[in-house]
């Protein structure tokens, strides 16, 4: 391995500069990690507001009276219930089994009794309800004694590690909630050169990842080691934005002497925590449109996922809790809280002193990509990185004006799309135009809407456009199927008709033959070849 020379003591002073990668013999070794950090197009600088919680140590929460655990907290198919009402469960027992390849298992966040399995409102843009397992905690919070970890994960087979991670229901904790074991099982024909740990936390307000790194840096490294082993990859980069100097320092200390894991301080720029942008900054490569990071030899995992993986492999514990940043001008006592999955947002807010009266919006996730909540009696799920209560001063919500074509959105888009054109096509229902302007490459980061002087809710239009296209696609398929069916029916009817005709002709021919048998022999001689010819026509 090469020796990494860090020219400017990056990070400790929050400075950004060149990371030169050298071999000890003097020859430059580029590898997949670019020698100088690259830039991604566009991006914005929203006010951080991280000072509200960056000093708040991660705190536990008193056990709520009830936990409502949704059976669909991840990208992919919902889980299938594995318990019945009345069952007693230990903490960590299976509540739901994986409902498909892209799916995840769900576990009991505490010990107690299954009180109900019923529909309950969840964090969904349409305010939908979802099947949830309701648990009444017994107060003992006792792990299943059968759960056991491994002290030396390196002795495990990579496939065994993947199976354990799959069994523990671990999904991407950055918010996308993609099942983690899939991202640790790259296709055989792809080579993974780099494990990239996403510790960027570019969303304003959120500090849960930064606190995790400050408080448990060794566990992050342990998680990374397990993932490197599972991927059989030799190199790891931890990307952290320069506005988290303490986290950078903690991580640098933790990786000291380990040349295969490197901490890289990144200039602050939203949306750097987006997988595609982070890959471009660190490697200079772009994930192909409609492709995956593995296509350019990179696997990206969130830093909190690394810790969850460590807990699973070393302690045998499935994913039953996560760290949530509870913050915003509307929260009485902002904090970083370790919350059991299934705890109601209401309970978490109450633990943090409740909402101030001037709260205008409650958001699950960050302010740029999070989901505004209709109601607060919905459960925290695996992807809930933050609970934000924003006051009118903090949150947008002015009236929409016509686009003045200023081009700010074009300059801000990290994908180099032309957001104003896309929004116009969506708004005017020119659905067919949308794929031509690459709507599906939009990552919905919200940079365009953030800079828009006309306050156009561009992301809203994009979501509408994507949905409309999906509906249209479904309808087109349905139409094609209907057409195919009706065509098949017509063909069948035609065939049947032909068959009937043929039989009729045959009958006629037979009748004629019978008649001629009854009549003179010379007549029979003349008519029979013609009749047989006629009868044979359909076969020709």
């Amino acid at each position: 391995m090469g020796l990494f020379i860090d020219f400017c003591g990056v990070g400790r002073f929050g400075l950004l500069c060149h990371h030169a990668v050298y071999e000890t013999n003097g020859a430059t070794r580029m590898g997949i990690v670019a020698s100088v950090l690259k830039k991604f197009h566009g991006g914005v600088h929203p006010t951080g507001h991280k000072e509200l919680t960056e000093h708040c140590a991660i705190e536990p929460m008193p056990m709520p009276k009830q936990l409502i655990v949704p059976l669909h907290q991840h990208l992919g198919a919902p889980s299938v219930p594995a318990v019945k009402v009345g069952d007693k469960v230990f903490k960590g027992d299976l509540l739901g089994t994986s409902g498909g390849f892209v799916s995840a298992t769900i576990h009991a966040p505490t010990s107690g009794t299954i009180q109900a399995i019923q529909e309950h409102p969840v964090g969904h843009p349409s305010g939908l309800t979802m099947l949830c397992v309701v648990i009444t905690p017994d107060g003992a919070d006792q792990w299943n004694p059968g759960l056991q970890g491994t002290t030396d994960p390196a002795t495990l087979d990579p496939s065994a590690i993947r199976d354990r991670i799959k069994g523990a229901g671990i999904v991407g904790l950055g918010g996308a909630t993609f099942p983690s074991f899939i991202k640790l099982s790259p296709p055989r024909d792809k080579v993974v050169d780099l494990l990239l740990i996403n510790a960027v936390e570019c969303e304003p307000y959120l500090t849960c990842d930064a606190r995790l790194m400050e408080e448990r840096p060794q566990d992050v490294i342990a998680g990374i080691r397990i993932m490197l082993h599972a991927l059989q990859t030799k190199q790891c980069v931890i990307g952290i934005e320069a506005n988290k100097p303490k986290a950078i320092a903690a991580m640098e200390k933790a990786v000291a002497g380990q040349s295969d894991i490197r901490v890289v301080s990144l200039p602050v720029m939203y949306p750097q925590g987006s997988e595609k942008q982070l890959i471009e900054v660190v490697t200079g490569r772009q994930v192909p449109s409609k492709g995956l990071p593995v296509d350019v030899g990179v696997i990206v995992h969130n830093v909190a996922t690394a810790v969850a993986i460590r807990d699973t492999i070393e302690l045998g514990r499935p994913l039953v809790s996560r760290i949530v940043t509870v913050t915003g001008g509307g929260i009485t006592r902002p904090a970083n809280v370790e919350v059991l999955i299934g705890t109601l947002v209401d309970d978490v807010i109450r633990h943090c002193g409740g909402l101030k009266s001037n709260t205008k919006k409650v958001i699950m996730g960050g302010p740029m990509m999070g989901l505004a909540l209709h109601q607060t009696d919905i459960p925290v799920v695996k992807g809930t990185s933050g609970i934000l209560a924003l006051t009118p001063e903090e949150s947008s919500g002015k009236t929409e004006h016509p686009c003045i074509r200023c081009g700010s959105c074009v300059n801000a888009c990290p994908i180099q799309l032309v957001p104003c054109t896309m929004a116009w096509f969506a708004k005017t229902d020119q659905i067919d135009q949308l794929p031509k302007v690459d709507l599906f490459d939009c990552i919905e980061c919200g940079s365009c809407a953030y800079v828009c002087p006309a306050n156009i809710p561009l992301v809203h239009y994009f979501r509408y456009g994507k949905l409309a296209l999906q509906v249209k696609d479904r309808e087109d398929k349905k139409k094609a199927l209907t057409k195919q069916r009706s065509q098949a029916r017509e063909e069948r009817l035609a065939r049947e008709k032909e068959e009937k005709e043929r039989k009729k002709e045959e009958m006629k021919a037979k009748m004629a033959a019978k008649k001629s048998d009854a009549g003179s022999s010379s007549e029979a001689k003349a008519s029979s070849p013609a009749a047989s010819k006629k009868a044979s026509l359909p076969e020709e």
Binding site: S289, A372, P402, D441, Y450
Partner: protein, 356 residues
């Protein structure tokens, strides 16, 4: 918490704080130095031209939108900006009815018929100026000599008002003694008569690069001081209201051919500095071509658009029927914007070659 008390909107939930009024306000602020200079150079009539044109634009916008039963948008300052920009393209002694007709035309036929702000195809101020120029050529090309606000020949406040509204200061008195040709006009007329550029601009006309840069020559109100307009343009760049693409490419589009032809025949074609500091090139490059609604949104589109504006300006200035071509050039290029936007979309992330 009950569902009704929480605001439920799509992400993002925070906003950078930019707004249409802020943009318009910044552009107006950037025009203040050049506007004040024009009053200082051309005297009180200039003030009246600016006031009447701007007021007409604002009142027209207010009334038209009220007619459509919509809330009045004059608070966004876009009509005020259109009025100011139009005023800066008018001769300093333009009669009141030129100002009024121009202001109404800009807002009515330049903007509101399309549906208001954001929907117009052509720069409203310039389309109005083009209309005035081809309809009332005499009033639009009478250029008074810059007499200053307080100089000996300067008009008093009241006299200026009388001049704008009646055409003369006192009954019977004619004001033709102080009119003069713009540098571009002088060059075109004299060169067409067979003189060299040097003969045309020298002699009694006594063209001075210093005076032209500072705005002390005959011409429209705002197009005379390249220096003050450039300062305003740099302010807009600093405030990120505009980007470099259009101004730079427009200047280059005009000045590169100017250099070429000047090198070919310096007696027939004036030097590029002359082209830069006279006429409306700088006003056009920083304030007119950069009008957001009527320019492309993609960087490449903006460069092509700007270059086209500059090149057409040079062509019209050199061979066209009018001595100045900035307005025509920009209005013609406005028509290409939808096409430019469609064919100059950037290559998006993941479709470039950066994936090996």
């Amino acid at each position: 918490m009950s569902p009704s008390s929480l605001s439920f909107t799509s992400s993002p939930h925070v906003h950078g704080g930019d707004s249409i009024p802020r943009i318009m306000h910044t552009v107006i602020l950037a025009l203040v130095p050049a506007t004040l200079l024009s009053i200082l150079v051309f005297g009180w009539p200039a003030l009246w031209v600016i006031v009447i044109t701007t007021l007409t634009a604002v009142v027209t916008e207010h009334l038209l939108v009220k007619l459509r039963l919509r809330p009045s948008p004059v608070g966004d300052l876009s009509a005020a900006l259109t009025g100011l920009l139009l005023a800066l393209t008018l001769p300093p002694h333009a009669p009141w009815w030129i100002c009024v007709v121009g202001g109404i035309f800009a807002i009515l036929l330049g903007k509101q018929v399309y549906g208001g702000l954001g929907y117009n195809m052509f720069n409203p101020a310039l389309i109005a100026r083009v209309f005035l120029l081809i309809s009332f050529p005499v009033e639009m090309t009478t250029w008074p000599h810059p007499v200053g606000l307080f100089g000996e020949e300067a008009l008093a406040f009241g006299d200026a008002l009388a001049l704008i509204f009646t055409g003369h200061v006192a009954p019977g008195e004619v004001m033709d003694a102080i009119s003069s040709a713009t540098p571009l006009g002088q060059y075109r007329i004299e060169v067409s008569l067979g003189k060299t550029v040097q003969e045309a601009l020298g002699g009694t006309y006594a063209f001075s690069y210093f005076n032209a840069t500072g705005g002390l020559v005959a011409g429209s109100l705002g197009e005379t001081s390249a220096l003050f307009l450039t300062a305003g343009g740099i302010f807009l760049l600093k405030k990120r209201v505009i980007t470099w693409h259009i101004p730079l490419s427009m200047l280059a589009g005009c000045l590169i051919p100017a250099v070429l032809f000047w090198l070919i025949d310096g007696t027939k074609y004036p030097d590029p500095i002359f082209h830069l500091i006279t006429g409306g090139l700088v006003l056009g490059a920083f304030f007119m071509a950069t009008d957001m609604v009527t320019s492309p949104v993609t960087p490449l589109g903006q460069i092509i658009f700007g270059a086209g504006c500059g090149l057409l300006t040079y062509i019209i200035r050199t061979w066209g029927g009018y001595p100045e071509g900035v307005s025509f050039a920009i209005v013609i290029m406005n028509a290409t914007v939808p096409l430019l936007d469609q064919y100059t979309r950037p290559v998006i992330y993941g479709k470039t070659k950066k994936n090996i």
